[in-house]
Subunit: 245 residues, 6 copies
């Protein structure tokens, strides 16, 4: 099984340690309010799995005979096979199928190759096939629907690694994606490190506030924290997070 | 952890022992046909959890700058914080956010305080944040959607404990709410004891009929029960429910 | 507990061993592209359960006083009770309730009788009641919604075992239905054996391809398989599927 | 052009003189609250046209090869042609196509025959073709959608003149239908005369109240009318409706 | 017929002279991006009518027996009657019925009183009755749906002139509303004069640009205008808008 | 005003003379069943206007700061301005905005330039602004929605003249589009002449059948026509269409 390189391992690890809600807040503060992919739902069996990955994008159009003939004449592999074949550790396929749920863009055979190549997730504005099998694979799978019908029933792949629309969000090749039971959030590649660090800080603070509340503190002054509580938090952090509540 | 008082403990216990479907039938017979909250879904991990609680209501409007400024100027806490702070054992927050799912009205920090104070459920015609965390808390959570975005992205709280609309049902402060895997039903406060007792009786009878069917009886005459079967049931009840099937 | 006869047991077993996606492909090849029931979702607790059964169909119309009076005057049992009573091993109720989700066509008492009689599934273009109970019964349950309201609140049964519409598919009495986590597919009765056999063959081949991919093979040439790989597969099959990957 | 017989002409005329809202109120009072066909919209060019007619019903199922072959083998005409051919003055086709809008159940050629035969309306829980032509014909046309595709693309007619579902309402052959810019209401055949008369009375009263309001009267006491105003109205009616406002 | 006072006449006139799209741009620039009421459609016959008015707000909840009894016991008029009675020239009723379209909150009799009192528009997140009549009255009517059913079938009025939600926008009593064929935009009361003036200016400029384009000019440099074109425009304005194109 | 060249004038004329339903049938026969753009509606005031044009395609993505900055840095005009500027007689803009209706991709100023340049239609899987003005321009306008908000509120143009998705149909630059009150149909460029001719023939035949029906003929044998009627038709055609009915 291929592995992440060291730098990616560190970045992926940091992102895996924070919630997508915290990431949303950081991105919102940086001028990116629309980063949550809406309308898709996780369909993998283990809802507590965290997905962290890097986007490869695919664009599908409605099936049309002359378009299909032209593409077939080019002799290239189908988009989903190519994306599975070329996947590297941490790849997430982000698929713009225009919301079409009357056919699956991929089934369990292609998903098998994808997983072997290191793929970690499928984020599909459309559908997949073979849900009963795919949901137990080691993949995070977010879709608008599922359908046993083959892709050519409704759609045809036309573009690989161009900017796409997915769940109301623009996704660019190379974007970082983080997913949990709630859904998937998109982080522009050039912001990934900054977002990971800021989110980590924000979660540390929230962890402190949560502990205070669990110990019986009133929420007033604690959330949002006033100056005194922020001060307390800083001391707690410096002091090795030792204080008991 | 705060506890229910004795009277409530009895009422809550009775309601926890009956299905929401039986409650629906009793309420329908009393002239309340529209008591099932529609369009929301449970998102807590343990779908078999039963929720019984008493409504505190919150009303949110679409975000608007002058409205937000006016409310901020009043210096009051935000609605969700207030509801979490003031919760008592058995409180359920019923939130009218007009179905808005583009922002969460509450996240896991406020939910933590709510749970500490004795809160048992969130019934939201709108969304929450932090699903990955909240779904494992000891809360029953029914929502129209989930979103990592902060509330101010879309909504602002304006009213506390007034009659609200939630999932097509009018909910008044103090109403009893019962929820299971199917959803949530609303019981007007003044009917709670009567409904609980009638539902308990109805379920006793259905339990008897179910046993007859499990023993191989034809459904005709048993469901709905004819006079003979009703008689049988009465005897069974008097006889200490001893007869084997 | 009643049992399937020998012939059915063989057919049901074969269908249980293949995915609904493979069945879709076979049916599509036979000129039946629209066989997947759309818009329903499984609500039984064990999502990995496979359903195989034979359709009994029910048609419900919106409730209307004169229609209800006419039917009551005929003195017949309600449709759902009749279907439960007359069920035999492997029966699936397919219910055309026009998508109405404001009332359940059946609750846990009738479902109990249905299960005792050998029923295995409910496929409902509408709703059921008592989800909290029914989801733990030994039934596969696919619905558009769930609602605690009794059927007479919205619907009335009018036809038994006529061709119906369910999730966008025409279902005839006697059709075979196969369901899994993805949903339900409909097989015309006269095609059931042929479809089962062809699907079994197709899955054998896919199993071989999947193993090749798991062993690290490129997807190109393997899926879809080229001549060489098909040859390999034939040999593998003849050779007792012994070759390790 | 065929004509209504005398009795029908009187009934149709009375119904044409009242609003569907008044008819709704009368039917509601008689125990029929769900008589308004929901989800369809008028698509004829003259929105002010009033439709009054008698239902002939058609049921369509999703297209399926073996069903189509069976029906073709019977050698009968297609349902829409039959309904057009057999129409008599005042006929309204009520079509249960399960809401399918991906194909039209009828186009302008069949509509032409229908109109020649005396047909006055199409009420379709589905779609028609040839909207650009049909909207200018002398027909009232209420549909869920429109589509240029031929019916066999998606649907097949299976039943003629049985009770059907249309826009959430049960419609029986022979029911009276009244339509205006708002939509269509269904009157059970045996209630048509009673409803027409009561609606006529109610409208007379409302006409009086409207005049009072137009003359500047306060709404309090007038709508709903108190005893004095009702008395006034009775006198006005007796007095030949002469009083000026 | 009552008339606007002088100050209002001036303000209403200015707002009537600008498009809602220009108003949107001005409001957006002032920090109010969400001012367009979404999901409602105009149903008055004359789509070219411009509506300018001032909001009176009504809040309806789902019907519930005890709530209705409590309100009836208070002996107050129904909300819609009160709003009609108390309307003054330029009043627009803004109704939060939670999107309920299964009953109309008002019919043509109450609408008649409203119009006599000077009311100019109905903006309803819900439905009205009597569309066939109301669409020809001198009112602008924007609704989510229409239904012949009386309000008590589904809803009950609970609040008068409080902040409400309508089509995803927060509306406060006294807000200015402007509507055309596209829909309705909401202007906070304290911004009305400023918005009207800025919108007037913006439209003057667009009028000049449009004339340039009509005369055959390239769009580049003209829209958006560059410095030279802005200069030209200023001169044209000073010069009495005389230059011919 | 620029004019069509001679060859186009002939082709456009032929297509303008046939209905989109006939075109659908011809395309379906050629292996193109999915050519009707679904989900859009005409919003121009003159619903009887026929649109015939040639596609220029635009692709928009959800707004995103870094994407917008990158495009701005390239210094190119916005997509809608470019399409308006470069339009030639008979151009139709086909816009893939992913169904986004929370902002308009174009308003009346750009539409003015488009019309001056010879543009005849806008087919938008998304929204336009300034409906009140645009609906009276000499353009056919089909949209999913309308919104007064400027495009940058939600979307950003990224591609010009690539294959796009619009209303569930793949549209390629250069495709012919025909629209009427029902909607828009897409004809692949290389099939346009063939489709126009076959549709013209089919309509001639239907015209004959329609006349027979109007003269009182039974529909049986006439629609679909039997051999005798087809013979009659051929003679009528040869005889100069003289026979009266």
């Amino acid at each position: 099984m291929p592995q992440l390189n060291e730098q990616d391992a560190a970045l992926f690890g940091k992102l895996a340690s924070v919630s997508i809600d915290t990431i949303w807040s950081v991105l919102n503060g940086l001028g990116y309010p629309d980063t949550f992919i809406e309308g898709l739902r996780p369909v993998h069996a283990d809802l507590d799995r965290k997905m962290v990955g890097r986007a490869v994008t695919l664009r599908y159009l409605p099936m049309r005979k002359d378009l299909a003939e032209r593409i077939r004449a080019e002799g290239k592999p189908s988009l989903n096979a190519r994306a599975a074949e070329e996947a590297s550790p941490g790849t997430v396929m982000v698929v713009d199928a225009g919301g079409e749920i009357g056919a699956g863009f991929l089934g369990d055979v292609v998903a098998t190759r994808f997983q072997v190549a290191g793929g970690v997730g499928l984020v599909v504005d459309g559908a997949i096939r073979d849900l009963a099998q795919v949901r137990h694979m080691n993949l995070s799978v977010y879709v608008r629907g599922t359908h046993p019908g083959a892709s050519q029933r409704r759609i045809i792949g036309v573009d690989y690694n161009i900017p796409v629309r997915c769940g109301g969000v623009a996704v660019l090749p190379g974007d970082m994606l983080v997913g949990d039971a709630e859904g998937v959030i998109v982080i522009p590649a050039h912001l990934a490190e900054e977002v990971a660090d800021k989110a980590r800080d924000m979660e540390d603070k929230e962890e402190y506030l949560r502990r205070k509340l669990l110990s019986g503190s009133s929420i007033y002054g604690v959330y949002p924290p006033n100056e005194a509580v922020l001060q307390e938090y800083e001391e707690w952090k410096k002091g090795g997070r030792a204080k008991h509540f």
